[in-house]
C-alpha cells in the first residue's frame, strides 16, 4: 500500500496540522467553560478567514414526542430571525461579508459564520447573542413554516429521489425516531406544530452544556479563548434532558415497498438499505463500511464498472453508510436507465454483496480504496470552514473530535478479514429494506 509520509511532513511545515507516523493530526485546543460549553479551537496562521461553528447536540432524532416532527429543522430556520440587539440577523452579518448558513441532521444541528479573521470578536458577539436571546412570536413562527413547507415540496413532494429516501427510512425504522424525516411529516408542519413547541425545544436543547463551539482559522488560541469566555461565559446551563428515543429492535425479515411516481419524467430508482452499527458502538466498522463502499461504488468500483460502465443498466449507483449516533443504515442507491430491469440490477447488487461477504478483497482493490478515502480526507481540509465542520461533526457524533484522525488511521489498518466479516453480518436478507420507484407509465 502507498504510504503517506510526505503528507505528514507537509502538514507540519505549513500550519498547525501535524502528524504522527501513521496519519495526520490537527492542533486543537479543547476546553470546557464552567457552564458546560465545549470549545474547540484549531488555529491556522496561513488562513485569511476564520470559521465559527456552533453544533447543537439535537436533531430530528430528538423529536421524541408526537406531533412535532420537523421541529429541529424549523427551529434552525427561526435562528435566522433576530434578537433585541440584532433585530435582523442577516443585516448584522452581511456587512462582514460573512458566509452563514446552517443544516439540520437526524443527530445534530450546525450553524456557521465564516468571515475574515479580523471580524472574530463581532462574529462571536452575534452568534452568542442569537443562540441565547432569540425572539420570535407565534406569527413569525407560522410564517417561517411557509418556507419550510416549500423546502419540503422541493425536496420531497416534487422530487422522486428525496421522496424515496424518506420512504426508505420510514420503512427501515419502526420505533426509533430515525423513522421520520428531518424535514418532518406534512401534517405536523401544517397543523400540529406551535411556537410553544419551538420554545420548549430551544429551552431543552439550546443550552451550553448541549453545544459545541468550534473556531478554526487565523486566530490566536489565547485571544479566542478570552473572546469565547466574554461572550458565552455567563450563558446559564440547562437541565440535563433524558431522551425518550427508543432503540430500534433488530430487523427479522426483509421489507420491500414499491412506488409509482406522479409523472413520467423520472428514471426508475432503487434504494437497498441494511442496518449497520452506530459510530459509537463500533468505529472500526464505520471505516470498514466506507472501504466496502469504495470497493463497490468508486469510479472504478466493482458495481460501478459492471452496472454503469459495462452493462449500462444504471445512470448512477452509490453506497453510503452515514455516521450516526445510533445504529445507522448502509444505503445503496441506484438510478436506472429507462428501460433497464429493476430485478436485473437488484440481483447484480445482491450477487456482489454475497461475493464481498464470502471472499476477502484483493490487496490491490483495498489499497485503492484506502488511498482514495485518505486522499479525500486531505482534500477536505482545505479551508477553516471545512476543518471546523469536520472536527465538530466528529465531536457531536462520537464524543471525540479525534475520531476524524482515527478514521484516517483505521482506513490503513482495518484488515481484509474484518471487512469480510462485517459484510457477512450486514448484507443478509433479513436485515434488508428495499424501496423502488418507477415513472407513472412504468419502466
Amino acid at each position: 500500500m502507498r504510504k503517506f509520509p510526505s503528507i505528514v511532513l507537509m502538514f507540519f511545515l505549513i500550519s498547525s496540522t501535524m502528524v504522527c507516523a501513521a496519519g495526520f493530526d490537527i492542533t486543537v485546543d479543547e476546553s470546557k467553560l464552567n457552564n458546560g460549553l465545549t470549545v474547540l479551537i484549531a488555529p491556522d496562521s496561513t488562513a485569511v478567514t476564520v470559521s465559527v461553528f456552533t453544533f447543537v447536540n439535537a436533531g430530528s432524532r430528538d423529536e421524541d414526542r408526537a406531533g412535532v416532527t420537523g421541529l429541529a429543522h424549523v427551529f434552525e430556520h427561526m435562528m435566522f430571525r433576530g434578537t433585541e440587539k440584532y433585530p435582523v440577523f442577516s443585516d448584522a452579518v452581511s456587512p462582514l461579508g460573512a458566509e452563514t448558513n446552517a443544516w439540520t441532521t437526524n443527530d445534530y444541528t450546525a450553524y456557521f459564520l465564516n468571515a475574515e479573521s479580523r471580524f472574530l470578536d463581532k462574529m462571536l458577539d452575534i452568534e452568542s447573542d442569537r443562540i441565547r436571546n432569540l425572539i420570535f412570536t407565534n406569527e413569525t413562527f407560522r410564517t417561517e413554516l411557509g418556507p419550510v413547507k416549500e423546502e419540503r415540496r422541493r425536496g420531497v413532494v416534487d422530487d422522486p429521489e428525496g421522496f424515496l429516501s424518506v420512504e426508505l427510512e420510514r420503512l427501515a425504522y419502526t420505533i426509533h425516531t430515525y423513522h421520520h424525516p428531518v424535514i418532518g411529516w406534512e401534517e405536523d408542519l401544517e397543523q400540529n406544530m406551535t411556537s410553544d413547541d419551538g420554545l420548549q425545544f430551544k429551552n431543552r436543547h439550546y443550552v451550553p452544556n448541549n453545544c459545541v463551539l468550534v473556531i478554526s482559522g487565523n486566530v490566536a488560541v489565547d485571544e479566542a479563548r478570552k473572546a469565547v469566555e466574554k461572550y458565552y461565559g455567563d450563558w446559564k446551563p440547562g437541565e440535563a434532558y433524558t431522551s425518550l428515543v427508543l432503540p430500534e429492535p433488530k430487523q427479522t425479515e426483509e421489507r420491500v415497498k414499491n412506488f409509482t411516481w406522479k409523472d413520467d419524467e423520472t428514471s426508475p430508482l432503487m434504494r437497498i438499505a441494511f442496518h449497520i452499527p452506530s459510530a459509537n458502538q463500533d468505529f472500526e466498522s464505520l471505516a470498514a463500511m466506507n472501504l466496502i463502499n469504495e470497493v463497490l461504488f468508486s469510479n472504478s468500483g466493482r458495481l460501478t464498472r459492471q452496472l454503469q460502465n459495462d452493462l449500462t443498466l444504471v445512470e448512477s449507483i452509490s453506497g453510503d453508510g452515514e455516521m450516526r449516533k445510533d445504529p445507522s443504515l448502509e444505503i445503496i442507491s441506484a438510478r436506472l436507465r429507462k428501460g433497464a430491469s429493476l430485478a436485473e440490477v437488484r440481483d447484480s447488487v445482491y450477487s456482489e454483496l454475497r461475493r464481498i461477504s464470502t471472499t476477502v478483497i484483493s490487496d490491490e482493490e483495498l489499497d485503492r480504496a484506502r488511498n482514495n478515502l485518505r486522499a479525500r480526507m486531505i482534500y477536505g481540509l482545505n479551508s477553516p470552514s471545512r476543518i471546523a465542520s469536520s472536527l465538530g461533526v466528529n465531536r457531536v457524533i462520537t464524543g471525540n473530535y479525534r475520531a476524524l484522525m482515527q478514521l484516517f488511521e483505521l482506513y490503513a489498518s482495518v484488515s481484509p478479514e474484518k471487512i469480510r466479516i462485517l459484510a457477512s453480518e450486514v448484507f443478509i436478507p433479513t436485515n434488508r429494506t428495499v424501496v423502488t420507484l418507477v415513472p407513472k407509465s412504468g419502466i
Binding site: R2, F4, S6, I7, M10, F11, L13, I14, S15, T46, V48, T49, F80, V88, F89, S90, D91, S94, P95, L96, G97, A98, E99, N101, A115, E116, F119, E139, R142, T143, L145, G146, P147, K149, E150, R153, R154, V157, D158, Q191, K262, D263, D264, E265, S267, S298, N299, S300, N309, E315, R337, K338, N371, L373, A375, I378, Y379, L381, N382, S383
Partner: protein
C-alpha cells in the same frame, strides 16, 4: 453605455445561421492551420497561471478551453459537451477503465465541465503522486482517442442527462429560460443538446470537433498548490504540443423584446412552481457598469443570502418560498457553497430573478419580483443600504480566493475576460462606485417591461387564464397573518403585467429537448 465585450467575433450584421457558416469556415481554416503548424515549445506565458502556494500537499490543475456549446455546429447541438465528456474515456495509451483505476489508485480526480463558452478540465492530486497523475492528465488533454464503444456509451449518458433536465424543475425552468432568452443566438440551446442530435453523433463528429477547437490559441491553463518548477515547465511544454490555431466565431447581439413574454412549462402534478424572470443584458463583466450592477444584483437577491430584497419580501415577510434570488451573470454554484463557480465565463449575459413558491402563488410572486425590480429603477437606495451591500461584496471576496483551486479559477476567469486587474482591484472598484450611480445604472440595464417569464406549472391553460385575468391569488402559510402587509399585497395583486394571449406560450415538459 460602454460596450467593451470580449469577443473573437466579427460583428457584421446578419443572421446567426449565416454567421455559423462563417464560423465553420474559420474552424476549418484553423483546422488546416493546426495540421500545418504543429507546435514546438511551451505555451505562451500569458496563457498560463502558476500559483505556488504552501499549504496542503496537493496540486491543482485547471485548463480552460474555448470549446463550449456556442461552437456547436447548428445541426449538431450538444457536440461540444459530448466531445468534452469523452476526453477522459480513453487515450492513446489508456482505456477508460484504466484511467479510472489509476486515478483511484492514487486518490486523484479529474472533472470536466462544459458551459456555453468554455470547457474546464480540473485535476487534483496529492503532490507525492504528481508524476503519476500528470501522465494521465496530459494524455486526457492532448491524446484522447475517443474509442467507438465509449462514443456509443457517451451518447446514452448524454441522453440520460437531457432526461434529468426534464425531471428537475429548477434545471428545467433554467434551461428553458436560457434557450428562450438567447433565442437565435449561439447560447440558445442546452449545452447537452437534443436527444435527436445526440443519437446521431458519431466518432468522426467528435474527432473533427476536437481537432478544430482544442488548439493552442483556445487554451488558458493554471497550475497551483504544492508545485515545483520542473512540473510547471512540463505542463507548459505539453500544452504547447496542442496544434496551433485559434477559433474565431461570430454571434448576433441578443436583443430585448419590446413586451413581456411568458413560457408556461406544463408538467403534471406539480405542487410548486419554479419561476425565472429576466432578460438579456447588454454588458458583461468587462463593462465599467459591472460593479454597480454587481451591487444591484446583490442588494436585490444575492444567491442564498437572506439580506436580499427578494428574500425578505418573498420569504421572510410572507413565507411564500424557500428562496428568492437575483443574478446579473449566469450563475452556477460551487457544490453546496453559496459562491459562484469559476469557469462560467460568457460574452453575453442575462439578468434573472428566481423563486419557487407553492403553485397557487405563482402569479403573485411574479408580480412581487417585478415590483422589486422596478423599484430599483424608480427609488434610490438609502446610503445605509448601499454601504451595507458594498461591505458585503467587498468583504465576501476573501472566500472567492480562499483556496488554491479557487484562486486558479479566479485568475483564469480574469485572463479570459482580459481583465488583468480584476482580482487585485475588485474591492477598490466596488468601494468607489458612487452611491448616486446605482439608480442610473439600474435604469440603463433593468427593463421590467421587457422580461421573459418562465414558469413550471401543472396546467398550462389554467395558468394562462390566471395570468390574463384581473384576479391574483395569494395563499399565505396557514396560521400566519397578513397584518400590515395587506395593503401592499393588494397593490401587488393589482399590478398589470400587460400580457396579451399571444404573449403566453405553453410547452409540455415531456416534449422539450427531443
Amino acid at each position: 453605455m460602454i460596450n467593451n465585450k470580449l469577443t473573437n467575433a466579427s460583428l457584421r450584421p446578419g443572421n446567426w445561421q449565416r454567421r455559423s457558416g462563417l464560423a465553420m469556415t474559420s474552424v476549418i481554416l484553423c483546422l488546416v492551420v493546426g495540421f500545418c503548424i504543429i507546435a514546438c515549445g511551451p505555451v505562451a506565458d500569458d496563457q498560463i497561471v502558476v500559483l505556488k502556494k504552501p499549504g496542503l500537499p496537493v496540486i491543482y490543475y485547471r485548463v480552460m478551453i474555448n470549446a463550449g456549446s456556442a461552437l456547436d455546429p447548428v445541426e449538431r447541438p450538444g457536440l461540444a459537451y459530448f466531445t468534452a465528456k469523452l476526453l477522459d474515456k480513453g487515450t492513446r495509451n489508456l482505456s477508460s477503465a484504466e484511467i479510472e483505476r489509476r486515478l483511484n489508485q492514487i486518490g486523484a480526480d479529474i472533472t470536466i465541465s462544459v458551459d456555453k463558452e468554455v470547457v474546464v478540465i480540473t485535476g487534483r492530486t496529492l503532490s507525492e503522486n504528481a508524476g503519476e497523475f500528470y501522465s494521465i492528465f496530459r494524455e486526457i488533454l492532448t491524446e484522447p482517442s475517443f474509442p467507438e464503444d465509449e462514443v456509443r456509451k457517451g451518447a446514452a449518458r448524454q441522453i440520460d442527462e437531457i432526461g434529468r433536465i426534464r425531471e428537475d424543475d429548477a434545471l428545467l425552468s433554467q434551461t428553458v429560460f436560457e434557450n428562450a432568452v438567447f433565442e437565435g443566438h449561439r447560447y440558445g440551446h442546452a449545452v447537452q443538446g437534443t436527444v435527436e442530435a445526440v443519437r446521431n453523433f458519431n466518432r468522426r463528429d467528435v474527432v473533427e470537433f476536437y481537432h478544430a477547437n482544442y488548439v493552442r490559441g483556445n487554451v488558458l491553463a493554471g497550475i497551483g498548490g504544492d508545485v515545483d518548477d520542473s512540473l510547471v515547465e512540463r505542463f507548459k511544454n505539453d500544452l504547447g504540443s496542442l496544434p496551433a490555431g485559434r477559433v474565431l466565431r461570430s454571434d448576433v447581439e441578443p436583443s430585448l423584446p419590446k413586451t413581456p413574454k411568458v413560457i408556461l412549462v406544463e408538467k403534471e402534478n406539480r405542487t410548486q412552481s419554479h419561476l425565472r424572470v429576466g432578460h438579456v443584458l447588454e454588458d458583461n463583466r468587462t463593462s465599467p457598469q459591472y460593479y454597480p450592477m454587481r451591487l444591484l444584483g446583490c442588494y436585490l437577491g444575492q444567491h442564498r443570502e437572506m439580506f436580499g430584497r427578494l428574500f425578505k419580501t418573498v420569504r421572510a415577510e410572507r413565507g411564500l418560498a424557500y428562496g428568492a434570488y437575483a443574478y446579473i451573470e449566469h450563475f452556477r454554484p460551487l457544490g453546496w457553497s453559496k459562491l459562484m463557480d469559476n469557469g462560467i465565463v460568457r460574452n453575453d449575459q442575462y439578468f434573472q430573478m428566481w423563486t419557487y413558491p407553492k403553485e397557487a402563488n405563482f402569479e403573485f410572486c411574479i408580480k412581487l419580483m417585478l415590483e422589486e425590480m422596478t423599484k430599483l429603477t424608480t427609488t434610490p437606495l438609502t446610503a445605509e443600504e448601499i454601504d451595507r451591500t458594498k461591505d458585503y461584496v467587498a468583504n465576501n471576496f476573501a472566500f472567492l480566493m480562499e483556496t488554491p483551486d479557487r484562486q486558479l479559477g479566479m485568475r483564469l476567469d480574469e485572463k479570459w475576460y482580459k481583465l488583468p486587474e480584476f482580482v487585485d482591484k475588485f474591492k477598490h472598484n466596488i468601494n468607489r462606485v458612487p452611491r448616486s450611480e446605482l439608480q442610473t445604472v439600474a435604469l440603463d440595464n433593468l427593463h421590467p417591461q421587457s422580461v421573459l417569464i418562465v414558469a413550471v406549472v401543472s396546467n398550462g391553460e389554467q395558468a394562462k387564464r390566471e395570468l390574463l385575468s384581473l384576479d391574483t391569488k395569494l395563499e399565505l402559510p396557514s396560521g400566519s397573518e397578513e397584518g400590515e402587509l395587506k395593503s401592499i399585497n393588494d397593490k401587488i395583486k393589482g399590478l398589470d403585467l400587460k400580457l396579451l394571449p399571444e404573449d403566453i406560450v405553453i410547452v409540455k415538459a415531456s416534449e422539450l429537448f427531443k
